[in-house]
């Protein structure tokens, strides 16, 4: 089976004034469909850079990235945006729901980029909210929900377009222990029950335990891998 993510000798260098900082340094990585990966490492180790690169939000200084069968370097910014809408689900640390929209409208947001009717969008959004157990909160705004509920809405939003790959940057970073546990249980269910490939960035070893493979980055170098 073809890998869902393939990085080949990827380097990402940021320039700050006259100095150059290598956020990722010659990283080679292969992730198979259906995997649950935890990207770990100290702050500044390149975890988020790696996540942004494989989601097409950033481009490497050198090296090749193939995700969901696409060489990301071959696409324009507009094509990458379209590709991201179809193939990638994003979950952020601070949820990033739009405060003016209800839970259902937030989940419908990425669906507006698809050629779906209003009823189809609504049905998809409601199905995604049922998956995350928030069918009774569909018409609530983010300000009327707890942090855990907000993150579950964000996960439903990421799932709405049925992407092949879910990427999550510190998804439990802003949650209490109980909510974090619930969110990770949900992630696990999405991986095992729905076959979603999941990559999460985390500092928390308890969160990482839900993944079947841990990748450790340090100073931009992939230096350790652990499988469960």
């Amino acid at each position: 089976m073809d890998p869902i993510v393939e990085l080949e000798d990827v380097t990402r260098i940021y320039r700050k004034g006259d100095s150059e900082i290598a956020s990722l340094n010659h990283v080679t990585l292969r992730i198979e469909p259906g995997e649950f990966i935890a990207l770990m490492g100290p702050s500044g180790s390149g975890k988020t850079t790696l996540l942004n690169l494989l989601a097409g939000l950033d481009s490497p200084t050198s090296g090749k990235i193939r995700v969901c069968g696409q060489d990301l370097a071959e696409h324009s910014a507009r094509e990458l945006a379209r590709w991201r809408a179809d193939h990638i689900g994003f979950v952020f640390q601070s949820f990033n729901l739009l405060p003016v929209l209800t839970a259902r409208q937030n989940v419908e947001l990425p669906l507006t980029l698809q050629s779906l009717s209003r009823d189809e969008r609504r049905a998809h959004a409601e199905a995604a909210l049922r998956v995350v157990g928030l069918e009774d909160r569909m018409d609530h705004r983010p300000s009327e929900m707890s942090g855990g509920q907000e993150q579950r809405v964000a996960i439903a939003r990421a799932l709405a377009c049925d992407p092949m790959l879910l990427v999550a940057d510190e998804p439990t970073g802003d949650l209490d222990a109980k909510s974090a546990q619930e969110v990770m249980q949900l992630m696990k269910r999405l991986n095992e029950g729905f076959g979603k490939t999941i990559i999460i960035v985390t500092h928390d070893p308890h969160v990482a335990e839900f993944a079947r493979r841990e990748l450790h980055l340090e100073k931009g170098v992939l230096h350790m891998e652990r499988r469960r």
């Binding site: 507009r78 379209r82 739009l98």
Partner: protein
Amino acid sequence: MRLIWLNLWRSPTRTGLTVLGTAIALALFCLLEALLAAFNAGVEMASASRLVVQHKESITFLLPEAYRSQIAPFEGVNSVAMGTWFGGLYEEPLPSGDRKQVFFPNFAVDMEPYLGLYPEMQIPPEQYQALMADRSGCMVGIATAKRLGKTLGDRIVLRGLIWPKRDNSPWEFTIRAIYTPSSETFDPTLMIFHHKYLDESRSIAKNMAGFYIIGLANADEHAAVSAAVDRRFANSPFPTLTMNEKAFNMQFISMMGNFKLLFRFIGSVVIFTMLLISANTMMMSGRERTREMAVLKALGFSDERVFGLLVGEAVAIGLLAFLLGAGGTYALINVAKWNPKPDFFPIFQVPGMAVLGALGIAAFTGLVSGLIPGVAALRLKPAEALRSL
């Protein structure tokens, strides 16, 4: 569209105040244009086939009545009518003991040829007959009749501010005709009466007229006829100045100085201020939502969509302000017929072009004020924005 609408109202006070501020500016713009149009109304109602002959020095100097028969035989002249500005003031006693004063333009004219020259004043034949048969009869515009609450057969008493009666009594007239203008640009407030009545009853300036109206056989001959008339009287004690009706009416506007420039200057300042207010609000709104823009891009929204979202919000603010400001002013003036000074502005309307202009200004203001946050959003790199926030 839904997202644009919802985002507009995330800060209702700010959006409300911005819309209100812009709406007031657009309302002011429409009001200024209505005032300009009101000043120009006399010019708009002018006909190219009519000339006006006045004293060379000023409209306030009179011309001999005998000029009428001397002008009539000129080549290219179809008919001639004389007229004199009467300047009478209508006064009505009030129950409180005070007197209500109403002003409307009133002239003494050579009735038969005058009405032939002004087909814009439409009256039924029987009213025409009654008017011609009564020397102290008068004709009033429908707007003045309504304003005074008068109808056919009613009496109107005017105080002659320029022309006192021989016995110093007030001037009394009977309404014999009420005209309806044939177009919206013709003044519906005029009052005209027989020149003979003025001449017989006034104590001074007998056999004199304020001006002559010439009806041309061919409008293209206006320059030749004007020159011929003025040449004819050049060396007389009463030299003339002949011009087309538009130029005649324009001289009253020019007496007020270059108010058009002043109005336009005020309008420009208002619009520029409005642009700054709107741009400032949109920039604040855009800056506050940098993270949201980055998130939308991460979710797959293209740069152009995010740009459109911000510019769309700014344009929506402009259009809301247009509906409130220009729409409200149009409804108040053109539909509800509000007029700040009916005596002074017999025709007071927001011109259609002014409404279109306000729409253009509102859309332009929205576009320009949305461009700054829009371009910032266009250039926003989501990876960097999400990392730095």
